[in-house]
């Protein structure tokens, strides 16, 4: 498909008796796509199957229009993969390592070395490029993994948990790099993460995985739905019966880390103030005080929670 970078068609992958992907069919559009899901949802397995590391028991995988099973080398020559775990070639400094990866990807030696210098500057390791990779900090190791994935100028990047272990400043810089690659440099990418803000900041589309299956997928803006139908609510009093009452009234209620509930009201909007009145009526019936009630922009967290059925 010309408008999709990756296509999975009824793909199943199992490690022994443990099914990691269950009959997955999904298309990843071009651009930046987030691959979301809790730990063990099958995100990394999907990337590894696309790289040809794990053969599927059934189904067909296509990357950039190429069948992974039939043309794995051509697929990988156009891919860049940033693995989740630390990985480097022992005994090399950063620039030698990245140039070596460039050569392995088919670049001539001189070009690979030139590209290595360029991408190391791009990812912010220009000053540290002659240091041994073993001596790098966690954040620097994340950057060099991105550099080795970029050195051969791939058409599509697979980024597996790229901000793992990074400090807040480093994390912001890494997300800026990813966003820049996708939106300014024309590199399609799939960002696998369990961190919703990372995906929301860098990606336009999302595929949400849960228990080895696709829970939902689409453009983030569309999945979030219209604004004004999600409310932040904080109450004083027993919350459990209140949540139960809201749920019984057809609303979806998700608790957040900040003691604020997010209440999603499905269906068409009524008259102005109707939704707020319904919430207050349920609070009154349950004997709780509403201390805070305001419109909320639906976030990816809501989409995720709805998709994987968290409450």
């Amino acid at each position: 498909m010309a408008d999709s970078s990756v296509t999975l068609d009824h793909v199943s992958v199992a490690y022994g008796t443990n099914k990691a992907l269950r009959d997955v069919s999904v298309r990843f559009p071009k651009g930046a796509v987030g691959l979301l899901g809790p730990n063990g949802a099958g995100k990394s397995t999907m990337l590894k199957a696309l790289l040809g590391f794990v053969p599927p028991q059934a189904g067909r995988l296509e990357v950039l229009g190429l069948n992974v099973a039939e043309r794995p080398l051509e697929v990988r020559s156009r891919l860049g993969y940033m693995p989740e775990n630390d990985g480097h070639i022992p005994g090399m400094n950063a620039v030698t390592f990245v140039a070596y990866c460039g050569q392995l990807s088919g670049l001539p030696k001189t070009d690979a070395m030139q590209r290595a210098h360029e991408v190391l500057y791009y990812v912010g390791l220009g000053e540290a490029r002659y240091r041994k990779v073993e001596e790098y900090s966690t954040g620097m190791k994340q950057r060099i993994k991105l550099a080795q994935a970029l050195v051969h100028d791939p058409a599509l990047l697979f980024l597996d948990e790229p901000t793992n272990g990074m400090d807040p400043k480093g994390r912001d810089e890494m997300l800026d790099l990813i966003r820049d690659l996708a939106h300014n440099k024309g590199v399609d990418l799939i960002l696998s993460s369990h961190l919703l803000p990372d995906v929301e900041y860098t990606c336009d589309h999302v595929v949400v995985m849960d228990k080895g299956a696709v829970a939902t997928s689409g453009a983030i803006d569309q999945l979030k739905g219209p604004t004004g139908r999600v409310f932040e609510v904080r109450v004083k009093g027993p919350t459990a019966p209140f949540v139960a009452a809201l749920t019984a009234a057809g609303m979806e209620c998700h608790e957040t880390d900040e003691d604020v509930m997010r209440v999603y009201i499905p269906g068409a909007a009524g008259a102005r103030g109707d939704d707020q009145r319904r919430i207050c009526a349920e609070a009154l019936r349950c004997g709780v005080q509403v201390r805070h009630l305001r419109n909320s922009l639906p976030s990816l967290e809501d989409v995720f929670a709805r998709a994987v059925g968290e409450s």
Partner: protein
């Protein structure tokens, strides 16, 4: 907001090598990295001392033919030279080979390698080429050079005419040793993340099989059981190649089959262990 390092990323518009040649990149880089270790260069240099000694021996025997009765230059002498180099095959295999895959496994490098456009066999081939190059340097190259030295010192081809099998025997005996040592070491290297443990395993493979053989000889009183020893199998095959009287009662075909089996097991281990993901059942 754009990142501050934006000035340097450009798309690549240059040429690319055809697919299927990544093994040579692995081999070249691995050889260069090994040669950057000074003590390894010393080991390679020391491994040529027997060559110098053998060259002096050939010179003396050619200049003073009457001494040929004591230490003759014949096919057996060349066979002995190749077998003497076995000690350097052992050390070079350990120092250059133990870490070839083990280090990559420890540093999670396999997922980096195999995410590039190269097949697992290319990765294994590249690593094999590194070790085979160094093993050739301590066996095949000095053995062939020694033959050339014999011709140069003698100033004629009489020795070659008298022993027409000598060139293929020298080449084959060396190639068999290189193949067995490199394949076994690579297989063992893929089994662990510790270079030291791999070195111990390799030494164990060599010495343990020899010890078992000696025990069996003591028990049975026969050398028919020589097939259990890797070293003895190599000697049996080498005797056959150099048309020397056999030192063991084990038939050559049995030793050939054992060595082929060892190669097959090594390849099978490599096929299972060299993967982009490690699946723990």
């Amino acid at each position: 907001m754009s990142p501050i390092h934006d000035q340097s990323y450009r798309h690549y518009e240059g040429g690319r090598r055809p697919l299927g040649s990544a093994w040579s990149v692995i081999a070249r880089t691995g050889i260069r990295l090994s040669l950057s270790r000074r003590w390894f260069l010393v080991l390679l240099a020391v491994s040529w001392i027997p060559f110098i000694a053998s060259t002096i021996h050939i010179y003396v025997m050619t200049m003073y033919p009457q001494m040929n009765q004591i230490l003759p230059v014949d096919a057996h002498r060349f066979m002995q030279f190749i077998e003497q180099q076995g000690i350097w095959v052992f050390f070079v295999s350990i120092f250059a080979g133990a870490g070839l895959i083990a280090n990559d496994r420890r540093a999670n490098a396999l997922q980096i390698y195999l995410s590039k456009p190269l097949l697992r066999m290319e990765y294994i081939g590249g690593k094999f080429a590194i070790l085979a190059t160094f093993l050739s340097f301590v066996t095949l190259v000095p053995a062939v050079l020694l033959l050339l030295m014999q011709i140069l010192i003698a100033g004629n081809l009489d020795f070659m005419r008298a022993n027409p099998f000598i060139v293929p025997a020298v080449v084959l005996a060396c190639v068999v040793r290189i193949l067995i040592a490199a394949a076994t070491m690579l297989a063992l290297s893929s089994l662990s993340k510790s270079t030291r443990f791999v070195a111990i395993l390799f030494a164990g493979t060599v010495f343990f099989t020899e010890a078992i053989y000696l025990v069996l000889v003591f028990v049975t009183g026969s050398t028919r059981v020589a097939w259990v020893s890797t070293g003895a199998n190599l000697e049996i095959v080498t005797d056959f190649m150099f048309r020397q009287p056999p030192r063991y009662e084990t038939p050559v075909i049995v030793s050939v089959l054992v060595l082929l089996g060892l190669l097959a097991v090594s390849l099978s281990v490599l096929e299972r262990r060299v993967r982009g993901v490690e699946i723990v059942a």
